[in-house]
C-alpha cells in the first residue's frame, strides 16, 4: 500500500470512492506540490490537514517569531484553498493518535505528504505508514523539499553521505537533472475533488491566532510572550514567497551580476527579497527557485551552462540535508560519527550573556538582539556570533548555540542548523580553523559607521564611530557625553579577545594534532585532508608536510593515553 514516484493512473480502476488526506508539514504551498497533485488525481474528496504536534522533536524550543511565521503560512494556505473551494484543517495532537481517528471518521483510503528527509521525520512517517497500511490507506509520498532525492546522492557516493562540500559538489555534477516543478494546484486540477466543509469548520479546524496557540501550548509547558510583539518583519506564506521570488530575480537581473554580492552595512538588515525562511517552511519550492534562477542566468548572460555557484544558497541547504538524513545523532557531539570531540567548556552564565546580547561586545550583542527581535540575521553575522561562542572566544559547545538558534531563527531546521553549527565551530567537515572573526574588527570593517549597532543597541547611540565597536576603550568624557558608562549602562567586555583567541587556537591545534597525528609545526597542515571518497573520516591523511623538526618528546606520550575512565 505504498507508492512513491510514478503518479497514479488518471482513470479509476473501480468505482470505489477515494477520500484523500494531504498532510502538510513543510511544503506549505500549492505550487510544485507533486504529492498533493498525485493525491487529487482520481480522488472524490480532499482534505488538507496540518497537525499541530507539541511533542514533535524541537517543538518545545520554538520561539514566537517562528510560531508566528508558521501561522501566517497556514492562514495563507487556508486562503488559497478557499479559492479552490477547499479549506485547511488544523488539528492539534500527535499524528499517531490523530490519523487513525481521521481515517475512520472521514473514511479515508488515501494519504499523501511530502517526503521529509530528517531522521525524526522519517521515524514519524514510518509509524504513520504502518498505521495507514493497517487501515488500508494508500500512501503517496514525493520528494519536493529538496532539489534531488537525497538517497540517490548517497548511493552515488557508495552509500556514504559526502563529508566535504567539495565532494558534494562533485556528486551533484554527476546527478541527473533536477526534476521540473509539478504544476500548481488550480481549480482545473482540483475540479473532480470536493472538500466537505462543515459549518463549524472555523471552530473545529480553523487556523489559531497567536494567542490561541499560546494558550494551547501552555498546556505543554511551552510558553511565549505575545506582549510587546512588533510587526513581523518576515510575513509568512506562499503568496508572500512568490512575490519575493519575483523581486529577488528582478534585482538580480537589474544588477546583471550573479557573483556573490559584497557585504556592506545594508546586507545586515532584513531584505525584502530574502527567501530563506520561505524555503525552510516550503512556502517557496526550491525547485522553482532553481529553475527560475537558471532561466534568468541564461537570458542575461546568454550562456547555457550556469555555474554551480549560482545555486549556492540551495546547495548548502541540500548538503546539510544529505549529511544529516541517516544520522540521528547529527545534532550532538557525543556519538556523532562526523563530529570532532572537542572539550568544550560548560558555562551557563557565559552562555546566557551571549544568548541575551550582554557580552559587552556591541557587534555581537547587536546581532543577537536583531536575531531575537526579528528571527533572521545575515549569514556572516551568524558566523561572527557562532565563532564568538565556540572556537573564537567563549569555548562553549556548539550544541548550546544551536539550541538558541533553533529557538530564535525562522529559517533553519534541524539538519541545516546542526550542520552549520558544526561547520562554524570547526567540529566537522575538515575545516581550517585559523580564521577567527574578531568581535570588534569584523563588525567595524562591515559597517564602519556603526549604524547597525545604533539601531539594535540604542543605549550606545551616543558613541562616535571610532569607539562604537569597542566602547570600553573610549575615554571617560566620551562615555559621559554618550550618556553611557561602560560597566554601568552597558556591560564591560566579557573576555579579552586577544587572550581568548590565543588560548583557543592552541586548543584547536591540540585537538586536530591528535586527530591527524601531525607532528609538524604548520598550522594549516594540522587539519587532516579528507581523501576518502565516502568514508566517515576514519581514513585520514595527515600527509607528510614539509619537514619541520617534530617534537623531541617520545611518541609514547600518545600511546596509552586512551581515555581513562570512559
Amino acid at each position: 500500500c505504498f507508492t512513491s514516484s510514478p503518479p497514479p493512473p488518471p482513470k479509476k480502476l473501480c468505482d470505489m470512492v477515494v477520500n484523500t488526506i494531504h498532510w502538510f508539514r513543510k511544503g506549505l504551498r500549492l505550487h510544485d506540490n507533486p504529492s498533493l497533485r498525485d493525491s487529487i488525481r482520481g480522488a472524490d474528496s480532499l482534505r488538507c490537514v496540518y497537525i499541530l504536534d507539541p511533542w514533535f522533536a524541537g517543538s518545545s524550543n520554538v520561539g514566537i517569531n517562528r510560531w508566528r511565521f508558521l501561522l501566517h503560512c497556514l492562514e495563507d494556505l487556508d486562503n488559497s484553498l478557499r479559492k479552490l473551494n477547499s479549506r485547511l484543517y488544523v488539528i492539534r495532537g500527535q499524528p499517531t493518535d490523530v490519523f487513525p481517528r481521521l481515517f475512520k471518521e472521514w473514511q479515508i483510503n488515501r494519504l499523501s505528504y511530502e517526503y521529509d528527509s530528517e531522521p525524526f521525520g522519517k521515524e514519524r512517517d514510518a509509524a504513520i505508514q504502518k498505521l495507514a497500511c493497517e487501515a488500508g490507506v494508500e500512501v503517496m509520498v514525493q520528494v519536493s523539499h529538496t532539489l534531488y532525492n537525497l538517497v540517490k546522492i548517497i548511493e552515488l557516493n557508495d552509500g556514504h553521505p559526502p563529508l566535504t562540500y567539495k565532494r558534494f559538489q562533485a556528486l551533484i555534477n554527476r546527478m541527473d537533472a533536477v526534476e521540473l516543478p509539478a504544476e500548481t494546484i488550480t481549480l482545473e486540477v482540483i475540479r473532480n475533488c470536493a472538500t466537505p466543509i462543515s459549518e463549524d469548520h472555523d471552530d473545529k479546524f480553523g487556523v489559531p491566532s497567536l494567542e490561541e496557540l499560546g494558550k494551547f501550548l501552555f498546556l505543554f509547558f511551552i510558553r511565549f510572550e505575545t506582549e510587546g510583539l512588533t510587526t513581523a518583519i518576515w510575513p509568512g506564506g506562499e503568496t508572500e514567497a512568490l512575490m519575493r521570488l519575483e523581486r529577488h530575480l528582478e534585482r538580480k537581473a537589474w544588477v546583471a551580476n550573479f557573483e556573490r554580492p559584497r557585504m556592506n552595512a545594508n546586507s545586515l538588515l532584513a531584505s525584502p527579497t530574502g527567501l530563506s525562511p520561505y524555503l525552510r517552511f516550503g512556502c517557496l519550492s526550491c525547485r522553482l527557485f532553481y529553475f527560475r534562477l537558471t532561466d534568468l542566468y541564461r537570458k542575461v548572460k546568454k550562456n547555457n551552462s550556469p555555474p554551480l555557484s549560482l545555486y549556492g544558497q540551495l546547495l548548502w541547504r541540500e548538503f546539510f540535508y544529505t549529511t544529516a538524513t541517516n544520522n540521528s545523532c547529527f545534532d550532538k557531539m557525543e556519538g556523532n560519527p562526523v563530529c570532532v570531540q572537542i572539550p568544550w567548556d560548560r558555562n551557563p552564565e557565559a552562555l546566557a550573556k551571549w544568548a541575551e546580547g550582554q557580552t559587552g561586545f556591541p557587534w555581537i550583542d547587536a546581532i543577537m538582539t536583531q536575531l531575537r527581535q526579528e528571527g533572521w540575521i545575515h549569514h556572516l553575522a551568524r558566523h561572527a556570533v557562532a565563532c564568538f561562542l565556540t572556537r573564537g572566544d567563549l569555548w562553549i559547545s556548539w550544541e548550546e548555540g544551536m539550541k538558541v538558534f533553533e529557538e530564535l531563527l525562522i529559517d533553519v531546521d534541524w539538519s541545516v542548523n546542526a550542520g552549520s553549527w558544526m561547520w562554524l565551530s570547526c567540529s566537522s567537515f575538515f575545516q581550517q580553523f585559523f580564521h577567527c572573526y574578531c568581535p570588534v574588527g569584523f563588525g567595524r570593517r562591515t559597517d564602519p559607521n556603526g549604524d547597525y549597532i545604533r539601531r539594535y543597541l540604542p543605549i550606545l547611540r551616543g558613541f562616535p564611530a571610532k569607539y562604537i565597536y569597542d566602547p570600553w576603550n573610549a575615554p571617560e568624557e566620551v562615555q559621559k557625553a554618550a550618556k553611557c558608562i561602560i560597566g554601568v549602562h552597558y556591560p564591560k567586555p566579557m573576555v579579552n579577545h586577544a587572550e581568548a583567541s590565543r588560548v583557543n587556537i592552541e586548543r584547536m591545534k591540540q585537538i586536530y594534532q591528535q586527530l591527524s597525528s601531525y607532528r609538524g609545526l604548520g598550522l594549516l597542515a594540522t587539519v587532516p585532508v579528507h581523501i576518502n571518497n565516502g568514508g566517515n573520516g576514519k581514513r585520514v591523511d595527515a600527509g607528510t608536510r614539509q619537514g619541520s623538526a617534530g617534537s623531541c618528546e617520545t611518541p609514547s606520550i600518545q600511546e596509552g593515553m586512551s581515555s581513562a575512565g570512559t
Partner: protein
C-alpha cells in the same frame, strides 16, 4: 571523526620481545600439554598460563578500561595489569561535571596509581577543564609523585587556563616536588601556569642535563632573567615556547652559545595586554647568531596584536619560518614581511581589512622562496594577482587555504574560472575554502 586511540602507536613501542618470539614461547610451553588439553576439552587454564610478555603486548593494545576489565579475570591477568611497563605513560583527565562534558579519570584509579605505580610513571600529562577544582586536583596528584622519575610532564588546560586560578604557592610547591625528584626531565609543558623564576631555578638545578623541550607560553610570573637561567644551564634544550616579553638578545645568544646544542624550534607568542602596548626590539645580530648556530631551526611566531602595535616588528631581517597573525594585520606590515622574512615557510593571516593585498602577495612569492603554506582569512586579493602569486610559487605550495570571500573577480578571472587556473599551476585540484550561506 573520533579521537584516535593510541592503538596505532602502541605497536611501535612494544617491549623487547617481538610478537612472533612470544608466540613461539607459548607454542613451546603449551606444546606438551596441548593433547591433554584437547582431550579434556577445556582451554581455560591455557589463557591463565599465557606468558607475561605476551599478555603485556596484548594489554598494550587495550584502552585502559578494557584493560581494567581484563585484570579482573584471574590472578595472572591481574598481575600483568600491574606490570610496570603498562604504567609508564598516563594521562590524568580531571573534569568536573559542572564545567565539562567529558568524563574524568576515576578517583579510585588515581589512588591506585599513586599507591602502586608512582615509581613506574615516566610520561605523565594532566588534562584539566576550566574549573579551579580540577587544576587543584592535578596539583594534589603532582605533590604525591615523590617516587617518580618523570621524563615528560605536561600540564594542559583543555578550556580556560584553570592552573592560573590555583593559589600560586600551592602550584609551585607541587611542581617543585616533580622537579626535585625527577632529575631527568626531558620534556616539560607548563603553558598558562603560575610558574615563576625560583621554580625554574629548581628545575635547572636538577634537570639541566636532560631538559630538551620546554613549553611555557603565557606564564606571567616568569621574567626574562628566569628564562635566561634556563638557557644558560640547559644546553640540551632543543625546543622552547614562550611569550615575547621573555625574549631578549641575551637569551638568543645563550641559545647560540658553543656549548648549546642546535635549537630545533622556538615558538614565540606576541600578545597585547592593553591597546597601544610597546614591545621591545630584538637586534638583528642576535637572530643572525641563532641562524649561524642552528641553521635549520624553525622560528614560529603567533601575533595577537592590534594593528598599530606592529611598529617594532619586521623592520629588519628576521629568520621566522611560521607566521600567524591572529588579529587584523595591516597591508603595510605584510609588505614588510615580504621584504624581511626570507626563511618563511608558512604564513597565516586571520584578517587584513578591505584593501587588496596584491602587491604584498607578489612580493612574498618573490622573496619567500621557502613558502609552502599560506592561509588567508578576512582579506582581499584580486583574482589576477592571486593567480600570479600561485604561478610564482608553483608546486611548492602544499597548503593553500583561502576563504572564498578573499578572491575578488576582475576583468581577467571570475570566481568560477579561478579554481581551474590555480589548480593548473598547483598540479592538483584546488578550491577556495567555503562557508555556508543561506
Amino acid at each position: 571523526m573520533k579521537r584516535m586511540k593510541g592503538g596505532e602507536e602502541d605497536s611501535n613501542s612494544s617491549p623487547s620481545n617481538s610478537p612472533s618470539e612470544a608466540c613461539k614461547k607459548v607454542r613451546k610451553q603449551t606444546g606438551e600439554e596441548s593433547e591433554a588439553v584437547v582431550a579434556s576439552g577445556s582451554l581455560d587454564s591455557d589463557w591463565a598460563r599465557l606468558p607475561q610478555e605476551l599478555l603485556l603486548h596484548i594489554f598494550q593494545y587495550l584502552p585502559l578500561l578494557d584493560r581494567a576489565y581484563a585484570s579482573q579475570v584471574c590472578r595472572r591477568w591481574n598481575q600483568a595489569f600491574h606490570m610496570p611497563e603498562l604504567w609508564r605513560c598516563f594521562e590524568f583527565e580531571l573534569n568536573q561535571p559542572a564545567s565539562s562534558y567529558l568524563k574524568a579519570t576515576h578517583p579510585d584509579l588515581i589512588k591506585q596509581i599513586i599507591k602502586r605505580h608512582s615509581n613506574h610513571l615516566q610520561y605523565v600529562s594532566f588534562k584539566v577543564d576550566s574549573s579551579t577544582e580540577s587544576a587543584e586536583a592535578a596539583c594534589d596528584i603532582l605533590s604525591q609523585l615523590v617516587n617518580c622519575s618523570l621524563k615528560t610532564l605536561g600540564l594542559i588546560s583543555t578550556a580556560r587556563p584553570s592552573f592560573m586560578e590555583v593559589p600560586k604557592s600551592h602550584f609551585i610547591s607541587a611542581l617543585t616536588v616533580v622537579f626535585v625528584n625527577s632529575k631527568s626531565l626531558s620534556s616539560l609543558k607548563i603553558d598558562d601556569t603560575p610558574v615563576d623564576d625560583p621554580s625554574l631555578k629548581v628545575l635547572v638545578a636538577n634537570n639541566s642535563d636532560t631538559l630538551k623541550l620546554l613549553k611555557m607560553s603565557s606564564c606571567p610570573h616568569v621574567s626574562p632573567a628566569g628564562i635566561l637561567c634556563v638557557a644558560d644551564q640547559c644546553h640540551g634544550l632543543r625546543e622552547l615556547a614562550l611569550n615575547y616579553h621573555l625574549l631578549s638578545d641575551e637569551l638568543l645568544l645563550a641559545l647560540s652559545s658553543e656549548k648549546h646544542v642546535h635549537l630545533e624550534h622556538l615558538r614565540i607568542d606576541v600578545v597585547s595586554e592593553n591597546p597601544g602596548q610597546h614591545f621591545h626590539t630584538i637586534k638583528k645580530s642576535s637572530w643572525d647568531a641563532m641562524v649561524r648556530h642552528s641553521p635549520k631551526f624553525n622560528l614560529v611566531m603567533y601575533f595577537f596584536l592590534y594593528e598599530d602595535e606592529f611598529g617594532p616588528f619586521f623592520n629588519e631581517e628576521i629568520p621566522v619560518t611560521h607566521l600567524y597573525f591572529g588579529r587584523s594585520v595591516s597591508k603595510e606590515v605584510l609588505g614588510r614581511v615580504g621584504l624581511h622574512c626570507p626563511r618563511l615557510v608558512e604564513l597565516v593571516v586571520c584578517a587584513n581589512g578591505l584593501r587588496p593585498l596584491d602587491e604584498e602577495l607578489i612580493r612574498i612569492a618573490k622573496h619567500c622562496t621557502q613558502l609552502s603554506a599560506i592561509g588567508l582569512g578576512e582579506c582581499e586579493v584580486s583574482c589576477s594577482a592571486f593567480v600570479e602569486f600561485v604561478k610564482m610559487c608553483g608546486r611548492r605550495l602544499s597548503q593553500l587555504s583561502i576563504m572564498e570571500e578573499v578572491l575578488i573577480p576582475d576583468h581577467k578571472y571570475s570566481l568560477d574560472e579561478i579554481h581551474w587556473e590555480v589548480s593548473k599551476h598547483l598540479g592538483r585540484v584546488w578550491f577556495p575554502d567555503m562557508m555556508p550561506t543561506w
